[in-house]
Symmetry: C2
Subunit: 373 residues, 2 copies
């Protein structure tokens, strides 16, 4: 889930992750993958237009679309491991929820609701599972995440990969199968001039920008135990479980509110708002509350507004674009489903310009700043 922010002292470039090389491989994979779509014809199936490059892959059946997502948690579990060592407290229930959340929050951007989720937990040494609370909390949290997403936990894979995974570490990831039924519920990316942008609150950093957060912890004298000002320590705040937004999309579908586009605000922070293919300006007028953790990260980094919103979700974890006449109802539906939500801005056509404007902060991200879709 980690993706690059703008280079700073705490930047991803400085952390040695070579995103140029990663992006090159991704592009080569996308080209090779696109050439395989024809294989569906022998099954009497096809992929719908405009599906390549989106967060979920779709296949069209007679009466529904199927969605398929493969996703990974990134390095957030290293924070939980550090907290386990420092405090004896297992945060692995939250990590289990996080792993499911990273997967299912991608599924719903297509309009699909997740129906089955699988876990992949690859460890360097089976002794990783010897800690009872870590092992049990991970399983219980994964199950809780599935239930919150309305999905069955189907299967999984738990290899011990000595020589591939670091001793004492785990790769946490998985996949989901989703369904869009009826097909009219597909979110196909038909953003329109004048659309309202509804924002839903996050619970903290979710699973993004974690490499940067870990580097910051190394520089803090109290590390993950540093108080952030709301009674919580830094590590505890980082490990708040990711919000699962499935019930919001489900509620909109049940109420007949059409989502023109939906964005899981992950890597690239608020720049993700311009993920849709079409060229629009996303003018954000109400950014919401970045929360104690967001403020702490900005102060401790230090990160200016431009850097912070390009890297973290800064309090808003999910966005939906709807017709302006639906804005109030969409917010009400989100709130009724238990989310903090607000009208955050609007979509504007400005010729071929594609940008995200954070009006209250005077920050603008032009299209070139979002390298990958």
């Amino acid at each position: 889930m980690d993706e690059p922010g703008k280079p700073t002292d705490l930047s991803y470039a400085a952390s040695g992750v070579d995103y140029d090389m990663l992006d090159l491989f991704k592009r080569e994979c996308q080209q090779a993958a696109a050439a395989t779509g024809g294989a569906l014809a022998r099954h009497g199936l096809a992929e719908p237009p405009k599906v390549r490059g989106e967060s979920a892959y779709l296949i069209e059946l007679a009466d529904c679309y199927l969605a398929h997502v493969e996703e990974g948690l990134g390095s957030k579990n290293l924070v939980a491991d550090a907290m386990l060592e420092a405090t004896g407290r297992s945060f692995y229930h939250a990590i289990g929820v996080d792993t499911v959340a990273t997967i299912v929050n991608d599924v719903i951007t297509s309009g699909a609701l997740p129906i089955a989720v699988a876990m992949h937990a690859a460890v360097g040494d089976a002794q990783w599972f010897a800690h009872p609370a870590r092992r049990r909390d991970l399983a219980a949290g994964f199950a809780a995440g599935c239930l919150a997403a309305g999905a069955a936990w189907g299967g999984g894979e738990t290899p011990a990969l000595r020589g591939i995974v670091e001793p004492g570490a785990a790769v946490l990831a998985g996949s989901a199968l989703g369904r869009i039924a009826p097909k009219s519920l597909r979110i196909a990316g038909d953003v329109a001039d004048g659309d309202a942008i509804i924002l839903l609150a996050s619970s903290g950093v979710h699973a993004n920008g974690i490499t940067l957060c870990r580097r910051l912890a190394e520089r803090l004298p109290q590390g993950y135990l540093t108080p952030i000002g709301d009674g919580r320590g830094y590590g505890e705040a980082l490990l708040a479980p990711t919000v699962i937004y499935v019930p919001f999309v489900a509620a909109c579908q049940q109420a007949g509110v059409r989502l023109h586009y939906a964005v899981n605000i992950t890597g690239h922070g608020w720049r993700k708002l311009m993920r849709a293919d079409a060229s629009f300006v996303y003018r954000m007028t109400a950014l919401g509350d970045p929360g104690p953790l967001g403020r702490f990260l900005q102060a401790a980094g230090p990160l200016d507004d431009r850097e912070a919103y390009a890297t973290f979700n800064m309090g808003a974890g999910f966005a939906a674009m709807v017709a302006p006449a639906e804005a109030a109802r969409t917010v009400a539906l989100a709130r009724a489903a238990g989310f903090t939500a607000w009208p955050g801005g609007r979509v504007e056509r400005q010729g071929a310009r594609k940008a995200v404007v954070l009006e209250p902060l005077g920050v603008v991200y032009e299209a070139a700043s979002l390298g990958v879709r």
Copy 2:
């Protein structure tokens, strides 16, 4: 994909992988997962009976079953990395095929045909992708595997996980979405007394027992370059791409041959033949040819027959149980689809006994020797 063989000098127990701990976690996951099946009700869906514990998770729709599989390659790519270093030759096209094969060969044991496959490639350092042949071959091999399986390559995830994945290494894995249509094509595990067991040839070790193979390479003076007697070196023979058995199952379905059960012969070797829930004796009378690599592994290990067939596929990578009257036609269908296939044995009811008998070798594996399903 790696699973334990019987402890020997080259055993998995000796390699330090604690399968008790892994199996404990798997069981806890299975319990937690089983409790989530009810989540499907809100979608008007359900999981069919007898699906938990099988290789593919199934969801029942009105006119089909959907299948979902998450799988990993294990450590076979470490052999390819060693060969790349020793010879400059990239075997990553084969590794790409292998990764798809481990996934789709599990999908088809349910009677589902794979329709979408996703790649997960997690590296310790993005520099892993800097080798052009390795990077391109992996993508091309993955695409070729998908096409051989009749599936579209949908999406994927390629994180750089410093501190989790070893520098220079990669976790290769993925997931698939499959479909059984019509529903009558489900392979539900109704093995019957007297069934014929049809075996399909493997291309070598596929992706199983690789940890043991790697340990053996360390003990050989010429390592992976050791000739195995057929003109190939040991490493090259290990890296023969895994056979994709999808066209065999598809051909049986098209011809109306009902498979009572199907087994992807992976970890646990031939003990996997008794994977089905019901209690039967699987009497194998024609084991086929273990090939130059199988013979080399036995001699070099050394591994006696009991150990070798409990760990490796020894020349047979896939098995199907069919009514005896269908045996000849099933073999003919497999051969017409390009596979080497033969009638390997028969299913016998012997009260509550569950065992695999390798008659020509005088080897018997009782049920207790297959710890996990």
